[in-house]
């Protein structure tokens, strides 16, 4: 515990310019939800751990960009994590540039930590994603969930929701655009 524990996220990120323990508190506060979010998307605990590490390293580098007026720190971290994961998938290896620039060594999980991570992802993963989607209107939220997270075909979604495929495509598109705008990034 440090004197930073009760401070708001924006103060922790600004305070990291002066006291590294502020960023430690920020990490502890958001480690579990970010892991759950990444684990749900990555579907692989080892990959999720690697993305988790890179996400916080990138967050440290980008801390000056965080603006609480544009959304909560957790959503901001989700956006970074999603970008790291997307970039890692495109490049065929887990993005590590932020860690390299910061001189953070590659870490591996012990067997017990892997089990713990598995438990967190299984227990919290769905709720973390719900939190990510919560900002959307209900129709867009449902469309994004079915299409992006469950990877169902548009035709199937349209059938279940009793509307046209074009409508579903529009909802998914608008939902993702809204999420990107909220996260301040484009994948």
């Amino acid at each position: 515990m440090s004197a930073w524990e009760e401070r708001p996220d924006a103060e922790l990120l600004a305070g990291a310019d002066l006291d590294p323990l502020a960023f430690g508190a920020f990490y502890r506060r958001h480690e579990r939800p970010v892991l759950a979010f990444v684990g749900r998307l990555a579907g692989n605990t080892t990959l999720a751990a690697d993305v988790l590490a890179e996400t916080f390293a990138a967050a440290f580098e980008m801390r000056a960009r965080f603006d609480p007026a544009r959304g909560e720190a957790r959503l901001w971290l989700f956006g970074i994590a999603r970008n790291v994961l997307g970039s890692s998938l495109r490049r065929g290896r887990v993005e590590a540039s932020a860690r390299e620039r910061l001189g953070i060594e590659r870490l591996t999980l012990s067997r017990s930590q892997t089990s713990l991570f598995d438990e967190v992802i299984a227990a919290d993963g769905p709720s973390a994603v719900e939190e990510w989607l919560a900002a959307l209107p209900a129709d867009q939220r449902e469309a994004v969930r079915l299409r992006v997270l469950e990877e169902r075909p548009y035709a199937s979604i349209a059938h279940d929701l009793e509307c046209s495929q074009a409508t579903i495509r529009q909802r998914v598109s608008r939902g993702l655009a809204a999420l990107r705008a909220q996260m301040g990034e484009n994948a």
Partner: protein, 350 residues
């Protein structure tokens, strides 16, 4: 209670090492520099600024290359976009990268990146980075890569990042984002410009009078980390001014004043002519941050004042890079004002 204490420890250690890098993150930097100071940070800045103002009053001769650049800048056309236009910058740079095998072994490499950045006040800004080449850091790294079947290296991969419009330019010159009108209103006198970038001494006195014990402790911590407040201030001033060269549209008179202000910073030295990453010759200056162990070299076109290149080198252990290794080598290839997200070919910096 953390799930992964090893990661938390690594992050905290890195934060301790890299505290200054919030002001000067690695390239491409333009869209990442917006700063929001807390009261504590303002107080710290104010306190160290008080010291530098004294230094500035003492003054020293402007180095010749910077005097030439300041003069040349006055005669360059203004590259200042309207709020609905873009300020386009293309850079080419190298930076360390790496990959790991399934067994966890790290393979070190250096990738060459071309970054295009369109910055706008009123429209969504975009930064697009493409990996154009990758070289292994050593023969051993190359051999290890081959021994593992030579997996695809993803050269050619492109990453894009957009930043929503906020009505301001991401110019970090001591006080964060500025509107177009604020940039245009910056003083053209170097000393006056400094005065605009930092709080007045009366304001510093006022702030320090009301500083909390925690703020005073932060000031003491900075002093110990940088050896002295003078060192910290020199570093902060150098970064603030050079970041404005790297990414920002500025009217000619303000740009000229920036060179004059840069020459006033203790520790900025001319090293004669040097070549940038793509081989262009220019006047070079260096600033060495002995406490973080990083040497930064800037290369200017003596005829136009344009910043051609920037090179950062690790000069000591403890910054996450091997001693003597290049942290970053960046060349500014082109810049222009555009009406849309297209790539112009002005060859302005050639």
């Amino acid at each position: 209670m953390t799930l992964w204490p090893e990661l938390e420890s690594s992050l905290v250690r890195s934060a301790a090492r890299a505290i200054p890098s919030n002001v000067r993150p690695s390239a491409p930097r333009g869209l990442l520099r917006r700063s929001r100071a807390t009261l504590g940070a303002v107080l710290v800045t104010a306190a160290v600024t008080a010291v530098v103002l004294v230094v500035l009053l003492i003054g020293r001769a402007i180095a010749d290359p910077l005097a030439r650049a300041a003069s040349a800048a006055l005669h360059q056309p203004s590259l200042f976009p309207k709020d609905d236009q873009y300020f386009f910058v293309r850079t080419e740079g190298t930076q360390p990268t790496g990959m790991s095998t399934k067994s966890g072994r790290s393979i070190n490499a250096v990738e060459t990146l071309i970054t295009d950045r369109w910055q706008s006040a009123d429209r969504t800004s975009l930064q697009r980075t493409r990996v154009v080449a990758l070289h292994f850091a050593s023969p051993a790294d190359a051999a290890y890569w081959r021994a593992h079947g030579g997996p695809h290296l993803q050269v050619g991969a492109t990453q894009s990042m957009s930043i929503p419009a906020v009505g301001k330019y991401y110019i970090d010159i001591g006080r964060g984002e500025l509107t177009r009108a604020q940039v245009l209103a910056l003083p053209s006198n170097p000393r006056a410009l400094y005065g605009r970038l930092v709080p007045s001494s009366s304001r510093i006195t006022q702030l320090l009078r009301h500083a909390s014990p925690q703020d005073l402790a932060q000031i003491a911590k900075l002093k110990s980390e940088y050896g002295s407040l003078n060192n910290y201030l020199a570093w902060a001033a150098f970064n603030a001014i050079t970041s404005s060269f790297e990414q920002s549209p500025m009217p000619p008179a303000v740009r000229s004043a920036m060179y004059g202000a840069l020459a006033l910073i203790p520790g900025v030295k001319s090293i004669g002519l040097d070549r940038d990453l793509v081989g262009r010759r220019g006047d070079a200056i260096v600033f060495t941050d002995h406490f973080r162990g990083i040497r930064t070299e800037l290369i200017f076109d003596p005829d136009t004042s344009a910043l051609l290149g920037e090179r950062q080198t690790a000069i000591a252990k403890g910054v996450g890079f091997r001693e003597g290794s290049l942290i970053e080598n960046l060349a500014y290839i082109d810049e222009a004002v555009t009406n849309n997200l297209s790539v112009p070919h002005t060859q302005r910096l050639h």
